[in-house]
């Protein structure tokens, strides 16, 4: 073999080696090892996201039961402070409204709620009708008692007048007796009249006494009525007190519920914000994975093209070695194949690989044609 032929063969071998080395790098870069890692991250993020969403739902269920349970549990702290074990307990009993998550006994929460609602409307009805009755009765009682008082006053006055008259008649009768005694037989008729007058006087006295007794009875009744009124006033006052207490309790419970609700809303808002941020991160990662898949496809296609060129080079080398083809012709063909190979890389990394194999360096700056946007992570040029 001539020296020139030997040099040509070495040159062919050298080109084949360069092509093979670059192709091997392409193949390595096209591997999905990185993707596997990225997929792992996506799965992890998705798992976190779905766990968070699940927990949010759990919290919602817990909140619903927790608020209802406020009436019997009397725990009185907001949702975010519910201990984890209690939350778990409440969650596990989400479908069982017969069991209270806090007491683990028969759930009285709903019953309490209904009872409270019933009690409230009942109270309102009773209070409103009682209010009317009280008002009406009070007015009637007041005017009745006023009239009664006047009657008693009049009766007392009349009785006194009658008694005074009776006294006068008694004196007249007594004087008539004295006069009759002084006149003797002549005053006998006078005596008869005096007797009648005296009897009339006694009857008047009896009548006056009866009136006085009646007044006493009336006074007693009046006094009893006053006692009854006092008792009635006390009952009204008790009712008012009870109503105040009830309102106070109801207000406390409503405030408690409102506070819990506000806390819960704030909790939900912050949870949703966190979930959204996580979701956005997951979305970005998925988009990045999709792009990497697309790039991996392109790298694989480029590697396949490079391998086809490499096979042609090896076949040509074999033809030259076996003497089936002229060595200088083969070298020229292999050189053209190598140029074809160099046109395959599209990605900067692939082009940098070829440059490195040839002992050169390739920088991004050499590729820049327009104005590079430095504030972006993506390689962007505007013309």
């Amino acid at each position: 073999m001539q020296l020139r032929d030997r040099e040509s063969l070495f040159k062919i071998m050298s080109l084949i080696t360069q092509t093979a080395q670059a192709t091997a790098t392409f193949l390595e870069e096209a591997c999905l090892i990185e993707l596997d890692e990225i997929f792992g991250k996506v799965l992890n993020k998705l798992n976190i996201f779905f766990s968070r969403v699940e927990n949010s739902f759990k919290d919602f269920i817990v909140f619903e039961r927790y608020v209802v349970c406020a009436y019997t549990s009397q725990i009185g702290y907001s949702l975010r402070n519910i201990p984890q074990d209690v939350k778990e307990k409440v969650w596990n009993l989400k479908d069982n409204l017969q069991i209270c998550a806090f007491t683990e006994k028969e759930c009285k929460c709903r019953k309490s709620m209904n009872f409270l609602k019933g009690r409230f409307s009942e109270k309102v009805d009773v209070l409103s009708s009682a209010g009317e009755t009280i008002k009406e009765s009070s007015v009637k009682l007041k005017s009745g008692m006023k009239e009664l008082g006047k009657e008693i006053e009049l009766l007392t006055l009349s009785a006194q007048k009658i008694m005074n008259i009776a006294e006068i008649i008694e004196i007249i009768a007594l004087n008539a007796y004295i006069e009759a005694a002084r006149l003797g037989e002549q005053g006998r008729g006078f005596k008869v009249i005096a007797d009648e007058v005296r009897r009339a006087s006694m009857k008047t006295n009896e009548l006056a006494s009866e009136i006085v007794n009646s007044i006493k009875t009336l006074q007693k009744r009046f006094s009893d009525q006053i006692d009854k009124q006092t008792d009635f006033d006390k009952k009204v006052s008790d009712l008012e007190k009870e109503q105040r207490e009830f309102s106070k309790e109801l207000n406390r419970d409503l405030l408690w519920m409102a506070q819990n609700f506000v806390d819960f809303l704030s909790y939900v808002r912050s949870s949703v914000e966190e979930d959204m941020a996580l979701l956005s991160e997951v979305r970005t990662t998925i988009l990045s994975v999709l792009q990497n898949i697309d790039l991996a496809n392109q790298r694989t296609i480029n590697t396949q093209k490079a391998l086809i060129v490499l096979i042609k080079m090896i076949e040509e080398f074999e033809s030259a070695l076996t003497g089936r083809k002229d060595i200088s012709e083969s070298l020229s063909y292999v050189e053209s194949l190598y140029e074809e190979f160099k046109s395959i890389p599209k990605l900067i990394e692939e082009r940098q690989t070829v440059a490195r194999i040839e002992g050169k360096t390739l920088t991004r700056e050499e590729d820049t044609v327009g104005k590079r946007l430095e504030d972006l992570d993506t390689d962007v040029e505007l013309f």
Binding site: Q291, D294, V369, L376
Partner: protein
């Protein structure tokens, strides 16, 4: 609502551009190659065209050349894995507005589109 035409033979990339831009309030039409895109640009008006280069039937540079024969104003961005200066110069000469190298960050694509679309 601004209208965008995204052209790529890869369904993943087409959808990716669509997802990223629609989330920002753009309306996005897609085409699989230059030929399909050319037909769409003749029927519809777009505020921006974003096209890949290496595509079957009609590649991105040929599409750009044909498109510029009847539309000289609509911004035209190349979105490609190609990085070679020679290709960029050709695109610039044919009337491309800019060059975005894949892979890209969706937020970066949005920034560039907002900057280019008036």
């Amino acid at each position: 609502m601004k209208k965008v035409l995204a052209v790529d033979d890869s369904a993943t990339m087409r959808n990716l551009v669509k997802i990223a831009l629609e989330a920002e309030g753009f309306s996005v039409d897609t085409a699989q190659n230059g030929q399909e895109a050319l037909e769409l640009t003749k029927k519809n008006t777009y505020d921006i065209v974003i096209s890949d280069i290496n595509m079957p039937v009609m590649d991105g540079l040929q599409f750009l050349k044909e498109f510029r024969s009847f539309n000289r104003t609509t911004p035209f961005l190349m979105l490609t894995t190609e990085t070679e200066a020679k290709k960029k110069e050709e695109a610039k000469r044919l009337g491309a507005t800019g060059w975005i190298v894949k892979p890209f960050k969706p937020e970066d694509l949005i920034k560039v589109v907002r900057r280019v679309v008036r």
